[in-house]
Symmetry: D4
């Protein structure tokens, strides 16, 4: 696995990352990481690699856009001095364009989205041992849906930023699309945005596969 023992791994993002985590910074005793993919990643890493413990931290905040991340980047990322960082942002940047068309100030357009994400990655990467960019997703299989199309556009931006900076990109939309071949979106998420625990595990698996997680110690030793 790519993440070294005793690394500090920080997740930042919106409500999907937040998932009810403790405030102000979620880490440490009493399972404070929320009810989402961050907790699942932490549990899977801890159980599969007892000899290589990782310190998982969660600073996701419900409702955030990339503009909000920028505003709290110093306190919620840089000051915490992570070794690894995972960013998953963009859902609200897009959603507000569709559920709040009269509130243009609540959404983030592609240009600002890309520029902000690019700047955050560019200035932060030198301080890290590893960085993961997870795309936003929309659990809607119909690519003709206007919001799905818009979300795909933002997902491409994420992957291109990842490529540009040579960091790990995770295509969460592709991961969801594989499940949506077999199940209706309402079986994974009533609003196509907030996943149930199976949907969260789809995200956790996508993240873990990207960082070289191996389930079976037997295979690992080989």
């Amino acid at each position: 696995m790519l993440i070294a023992a005793r690394s500090k791994l920080l997740f930042i993002g919106d409500s999907i990352t937040d998932a009810g985590r403790n405030r102000p910074v979620a880490e440490g005793l009493f399972d404070p990481l929320g009810k989402g993919y961050v907790t699942q990643v932490s549990a899977l890493l801890g159980a599969a690699y007892p000899d290589r413990p990782v310190r998982v931290v969660n600073t996701g905040c419900s409702g955030n856009t990339v503009r909000d991340l920028k505003g709290r980047w110093q306190s919620d990322v840089l000051d915490l001095k992570p070794d690894w960082l995972s960013i998953m942002i963009g859902t609200n940047d897009v959603w507000r364009q569709f559920d709040s068309p009269l509130f243009p100030e609540a959404a983030v357009q592609p240009e600002e989205y890309e520029a902000t994400l690019d700047a955050l990655v560019g200035t932060t990467k030198p301080l890290l041992k590893g960085l993961v960019l997870m795309t936003p997703f929309y659990a809607e299989p119909n690519q003709g849906d206007a919001m799905r199309a818009r979300m795909d556009q933002y997902g491409k931006i994420v992957l291109s930023v990842a490529k540009k900076h040579g960091v790990i990109g995770v295509d969460t939309q592709a991961a969801f699309d594989r499940a949506l071949k077999h199940q209706h979106s309402s079986n994974l998420s009533w609003d196509r945005v907030h996943p149930n625990l199976i949907g969260h595990m789809i995200l956790a698996r996508a993240f873990l596969d990207a960082v070289g997680f191996v389930w079976s110690p037997v295979r690992r030793e080989k």
Copy 2:
């Protein structure tokens, strides 16, 4: 308007009708009818026709299918002796087929749906001065979506039952489709099932137009 002064008008249905109404039977003082289209209908009737008051009653129950309606028909419809009855059911009959595919007992298939609705209407109509059948809807404009297609099938059953018995049918899906031409589904309902208050007013308007409601007293007098 078709509904005579001092009539008792009963609404029954699922969570969209329920909308947080009071228990056991919602009627009377202190605005007990919930936060949905039933309250809106009541307020519009009361304000536009102060000289022709209507007694509005709500016995909608969250999560109900037509099978549940049948189970409580005696206590929640017949015992209350309404003059007019409005039924809006089918959302959960369909939804469970998609969000709970492993729980077939939770859903209602078309045959049972039609037979049950037909029986309830057939036995109850003779006791009423008026009966309205509102179709279920799915705030998803993509007719290729499997759940939308299924909901359309149930909507057609409702309208055919209405036609067979000579009662009023209200095509709520058509009403939503008109709005969805201009707005994304997430602007009316995050989960495409539970509307916000604008979505509820779409239902209220569809109902009111079907019973001859006229907004302007001036026009009415003509």
Copy 3:
């Protein structure tokens, strides 16, 4: 209708406008506008004109007099830059003269009421595309009641200020009086001040009629 698509329409007033709205400024997702006429106006506009959405904002505050409005005018009106503004104030200015005769500092006398309202309208109108002044009302049909007589005096002030500035005046007392011909005041409001939802719809209708709202799209096209 007079209000253009994508306008921002702000309502300010006392508890009748407030109606339990969200703080600090009520607007946006999750139906934050309270349980009164503001919500009803928003729902009716949204449902009847899906192609011409209006952004409705509510900054009503329970207990307010016109003196209170003046005190928060900068933050709760001007800073929000509305296109349209609706003001409905005066109930508490009058009521305190009758329910709290020993607390003269809690009431606002006619001279201060008129001067303050006139100044707010005069300085704000140039910044707006439209302005609506709704009179206060007292759901008491007996014009010999001392408080009703006083409220009528304040209502006349509102309409004269509207006329002076060439803005829309809405006579809510007249709207209630039409209903009180058919119903006892206790059927619309136990305390003759806070309406039930039918009473709120009387207000909503009065407002909507004044801004050219048309219920039926068919009529509209004509």
Copy 4:
């Protein structure tokens, strides 16, 4: 004073008597009698006559009509074996005719009101040392108001029943009218039905004067 030392004095009625009393029967330690005239009567008797303590009991129930009293007469009056009984009922019998005109089953018409009250008094009086009938009241000075006129009609029934059976009648409407000469109704009760504590004391004084209460021990000794 008419009430002998160590008597059990029971009050029954509607919300004005109830006033938030403890359940099921309010009496004994920890001031369980509610926040209304019953508590005030109890405190005044206890403080003014420390040598002649009276056991005060409250079984008022919010929303009750005389029909409801009849339904619980056995458990809430007879089983408690009072020495003295005070009945104050009729507010809801009348109010429902005005605030709920579509709910005729919720109101009690004069014939039933009189017959029921007469029967309760007739069968219970022989078991008591004293019986007080307090009229209902409406804190509305305008005798032309339809509900005030109706309440006056019920008040007359109470006084005529008292006269017929030779028990004490208390005209609470007259007591309120004296105060309403000096104050607007909203200063005693926002809804003209539920008094504030000054209004409750008007009731307490009317009761106490009727049973020979004397404030000053000096005068008493004379």
Copy 5:
């Protein structure tokens, strides 16, 4: 009665005065004066003298000693500009000497008690139309009890300060002693300090008699 119509009458003291009143200053609508003698005085004045309304204010605070009164005298007495003032303090000054003998800083010794009270009365009397000093009391009939003896000492200080300044003194201990001849202390107060509502009415009566309250309007007219 000594208190003129439309006077502002302020009560200050400890928990017996406080009695759960509203914060920060208790006055006005919704019966905010607490559940003690202040509320009873207000209700009796309002009901017996509807033509001479008095504005009652309560700034009692649980646990206070005279030292605490001094600390908040500006904001809780002077700034409120009362016409009449009633002070009842000393219970905690004494009680802490007995229930907290290890906490000398919590109690107030007689010298400080007298000097502080004297100074507050001396500087405030010129600003008032009337001033009432109520003694503290201990509902313990045994004058040999150490705390009763101490409380008597403080009561004498109160009456001597009243005499010195020519203001009204109210001997609440004497009022309680009259009741304790007929009843055990536990029937008026479990802890001999906090009265039940009968005990509070003993205080209210003592206050009212001292300011010339007359129960019966008939007698008053004479």
Copy 6:
């Protein structure tokens, strides 16, 4: 110590024994025995005799008289099959005679008190290895107080019943009197009935001394 290892020791009584214990029967994990002397006895036994653990059970109930104990004796004593039993009852039997003089049914007179206690002891003693009767007490040093005198009378009954049946009697009044020589009653109990934790420890010590508890293991071995 008299109580053998692994004995079941049951305490029954009123609120002083109850002290907020768990329901229905307090014993076992999570310190369920309340905040009073029962918990203190349990902790002292457990800590001083780790090699001789005792199973402590609490079935005290607030407000109980000996008549109440009789009513639940089967379920709350006999069915639990204790080895040792401690009874402390009588406070409410006496208190109601003084704080509720109008409620004679709430108190228990000496004859009934003695007969009931005698019968309970007589029939239960043969089933036990040990039985302790604790007197009620009143934390009032003035023996001339009517309630103290009455409580002393009940205490003598307890000790005479203990003597008659040859079981252990504990004079809790004497234990309190020793402390009251040095402290005012308000330092141990505001209402002279419910002790603070020091007062409870006075009870615990009195009980423990009576059953041969020795604090110091060193002394024990001798």
Copy 7:
């Protein structure tokens, strides 16, 4: 994987299985399965095998022993007609012997434990497609600890019952021991019984490995 698509998989056990699940039977929408290994198994199965969904049900109950399972076997296992069943019981059977040595009725001795488990397995296996027996565990690495030794004894019973009936046995103690080589017990569970989420994932992995779960679809296809 051994578990076929659309199977119903039921977990029963004590608090470790319960983990705060919904009542009465946990299954279906809104992630009702608790915060433990059952939820983790469900999420991993759902995410890794979207084409082979499994219906997971949880009827674990905190505090249960095998004797409790027997008492509710009909309603909580048989009536639910599972295809697969997983039993993990024994923690409380052992723990009560150590944390409650005075409460022998709360524990289950080895003979009864084995006989009860054997009977439940024997009668239920014929009705199932698969059955998994998970041993209890104690997160204490010191095999000389009395409770660890006792737990090992019960674990051996579980595995021998599994072997006898030819069903799957899962050695959870061995799984924990592998982690305890690298971490102190307090890092997985403060009380060595209730695991944190990493500890729960150790259980989930042990279960999944036993039923042939494969993390990587790639490997699966081979």
Copy 8:
């Protein structure tokens, strides 16, 4: 006993000392000292020495290490001017090394622990009449357990600091070890850190024996 009458005795420490005490400083009326050994010490001193009362204060804080004590030493020790001081700290300094191995900043290593404790004792002793240092403990009898071994190391530091400064040292580990000879650790503390009330009394006894407490007044007089 060593502690003189009317001394102020302050306890500071972590959650074991805190035990749910009141904030900000726990002392005085209403039993504010928490549910642990501090309360037990206070109750035993008060009950056994009514003529020599001691003022007990508790400023323990859950989660604290010696580093935290240092941070609040001025406000929570020095400003309170105790006569006697008892410090019990170290549990969390050690525990975090084992339950949070990835959070080195949360633990305190031996060097810092000793230096900090030594400095606090050295600077504070001159201001006191007496000082007690209680060792931390771990209710784990297996001295081979890594955390037990570490806790023993910290306990030795405490006792050596006590010896160096000539203050009282209390070996709480030895006290627990005596009980653990007879009982499993889970019978005193589920997590081996937070004791039940029997475990707390073990601490209270160890403290009291160290300051010369004598249970029996008889022995004392000798």
